[in-house]
Assembly symmetry: C2
Homo-oligomer: 403 residues x 2
């Protein structure tokens, strides 16, 4: 077979296969209870309503729904999103502040492409969403990790990172945060810290990429403001939203809110990335929003996931040996487990598989793989019975491994 090694670009060397996608293959055995994926509960999908919306769209727009669309996204969908952001987030945007994307991952790719030259500095939290790390690494970003705790990223640590970068005569191209129910930790940045962080972003003349896939999935308590709202349209924040967790991932739709100038650059990049996102799916989502279906649907998702979170925490308390800690997130899809320092969750993984349970190894969420004794557990996908049984198996695996 032909040898391609002299033809490949550097990007193929920088791009790493996703740990999760590879793990999911291992766990395709139906006997294994997997807390590894980040999949929404399919029982919550509004399949019937989606069918209705698609029927309406094909009746009302039989031609334009199936044609190429504008790269910027459907104007009709943007109209509904502007109302939605105003109502749910007190965010005021014009159509030119919005770009419809082929879900969050494309937005992460777009942000990387627009800002990162090979070797450029960016700042993320330790730990951070591995799909984002994967995108940044595929552009060969020089990633710096700021510390986080139960209140999210520590402002003083963030400032220290930015100061260090500046002292090297370099520019931090952006700071990447998931402020609400962070993936993987489940932690939310407090309101007080948000104000401090925004000041730091301005002081160091960089931009904040606010990734917000889970924000609407809140079980209790009041939400702090989005960074986008706090910034008041001054252009210091680019926010990534997606329909994957609050509606369905199968539509591959999300949207970016940001300064008009940046959105214009993104539109030009999207022209050569995929021309436009699916028009029929944009219109069906628009109808879903226009008919006021999204709000009650999110309430339903929240009630389903809250029960599952509670069950998982109950099971952790019931089964886990001493020395194991976990976060208790007020929303989202994930919680974060910390094992005693001497347990490397990657090395423990085969023992877990032997016990027929799976998780994502914690080191995958560290850009440098430095921390080994954590694991991310997803509580949205497994059934009630599987959550109890799976945590029981996981506790057994930890005891087995620690022996």
């Amino acid at each position: 077979m032909k040898d391609f090694s002299h033809l490949y670009s550097n990007a193929t060397k920088w791009a790493k296969a996703s740990v999760i996608r590879e793990l999911l293959k291992v766990t395709s055995n139906p006997e294994i209870i997997s807390f590894a994926g980040g999949l929404p509960d399919p029982q919550a999908f509004p399949s019937k309503k989606i069918n209705e919306m698609l029927n309406i769209v094909l009746k009302r727009y039989p031609f334009s729904a199936l044609q190429y669309g504008a790269t910027e996204g459907s104007a009709r969908l943007k109209t509904e999103l502007i109302k939605w952001l105003k109502k749910t987030e007190k965010i005021d945007v014009a159509p030119d502040n919005l770009l419809i994307t082929s879900a969050s991952q494309q937005a992460l790719d777009m942000v990387s492409r627009a800002f990162i030259n090979p070797g450029d500095k960016i700042v993320v939290t330790n730990p951070s969403y591995l799909g984002a790390l994967q995108a940044f690494q595929s552009y060969n970003a020089d990633i710096v990790g700021a510390d986080s705790d139960g209140g999210g990223v520590v402002p003083e640590s963030l400032e220290k990172c930015l100061k260090q970068i500046k002292s090297e005569g370099k520019t931090c191209k952006f700071v990447y945060l998931i402020p609400d129910f962070q993936n993987p930790s489940g932690v939310t940045i407090t309101q007080e810290r948000r104000k401090k962080i925004l000041e730091i972003i301005k002081k160091y003349n960089t931009v904040l990429v606010e990734d917000s896939p889970y924000r609407a999935v809140r079980f209790e308590g009041n939400a702090p403001d989005t960074f986008y709202h706090l910034d008041g349209g001054k252009g210091n924040v680019i926010t990534l939203f997606t329909f994957s967790k609050v509606f369905v991932p199968g539509f591959r739709l999300g949207y970016i809110a940001g300064p008009k100038e940046v959105i214009r650059k993104f539109v030009i990049l999207k022209q050569s990335m995929d021309l436009c996102s699916s028009k029929i799916l944009q219109l069906a989502t628009m109808e879903y929003l226009r008919n006021g279906r999204l709000e009650p649907h999110i309430k339903r998702v929240v009630s389903i996931y809250k029960v599952k979170r509670d069950l998982m925490i109950k099971a952790l308390k019931k089964y886990m040996p001493a020395g194991v800690k976990w976060t208790e997130p007020a929303g989202g899809l994930f919680l974060w487990v910390e094992l005693p320092k001497n347990i490397d969750t990657e090395k423990m993984f085969p023992t877990a598989i032997k016990n027929k349970v799976a998780y994502v190894i914690g080191s995958a969420f560290y850009h440098d793989g430095s921390v080994k004794n954590n694991m991310r557990l997803n509580f949205s996908y497994a059934t009630h019975e599987e959550i109890d049984e799976g945590i029981k198996r996981l506790a057994a695996a930890i005891k087995d491994y620690a022996k």
Copy 2:
């Protein structure tokens, strides 16, 4: 407003706004007859059948259709594509030779990303599809143009380009061709030349990217073999197919056939580009294929476009002044008009708009913008009446401008 100039990457400088997308904005005036876009005729869209397929999919797969899918693409869709390629193109592939993409533009982006480092050499024909040039330029490829004539790219010219690159001690990362009903010229590469070209690709140890969006839209005559078939799975050819022209563009679906090793690299890139393409639309397309709907649908598209091509050629003969030449393509969506050397179609464009007709300027299809006296006309979108009236207006504009 915040200044972003210190934050942007080089990619934002290399990426150029698409001439067509900008032109389309100028021509949104409904009084203007536009031959500028590359839009399929929406009257040919099988909206009713698509509605049926979506209903079936949501009934049969209410959960998995709306969930995340495999990055590689739906295994069910691949099964149907393998049968389709075997039947229609005598192409034998395994599932690992295929990757489902978010249509052709994503495939062009993926090919660029996998092979081009900034400054790398690639070879295209003069002229070439501008969406491909835009993708290649956004990665800062150093593009070399080979000559083409009525039989497609001239093998001797292609070899000269590759020889020159080799003599400079450089590598041609790939050769990009649209062998059938080329965009913009409408020309098809002859069978004899295909064999020669494949030998040249092998001799210079590069790879051929065969872009094949229009191949199935053939009005008359026999199709030469695809390069993929001619290569017999030896790994010298990567072929890009799309459903945009033979089915609907609004689904944003296409597929790449290539060596397993290359497809594996593409899958890793796609993980960080958009995770996966829409599952529900992949399954609806799968049902359409499985029910044997695609073949009769293509026959219908062919019969509609053939009439339109004939009408456009008839109108050109009727209205155009002496000295104007055009290609007579045996398929596809476009023909290519050559005006006398002293007419610059970009400079003439305002005169055309004044005459309420639009086209794409020929120089947009030259990587160096060097040839000025051509225009691309699309015959698939306009109605019969518009084709006659539009060509009449275009002829008047040429006469006006040449005065």
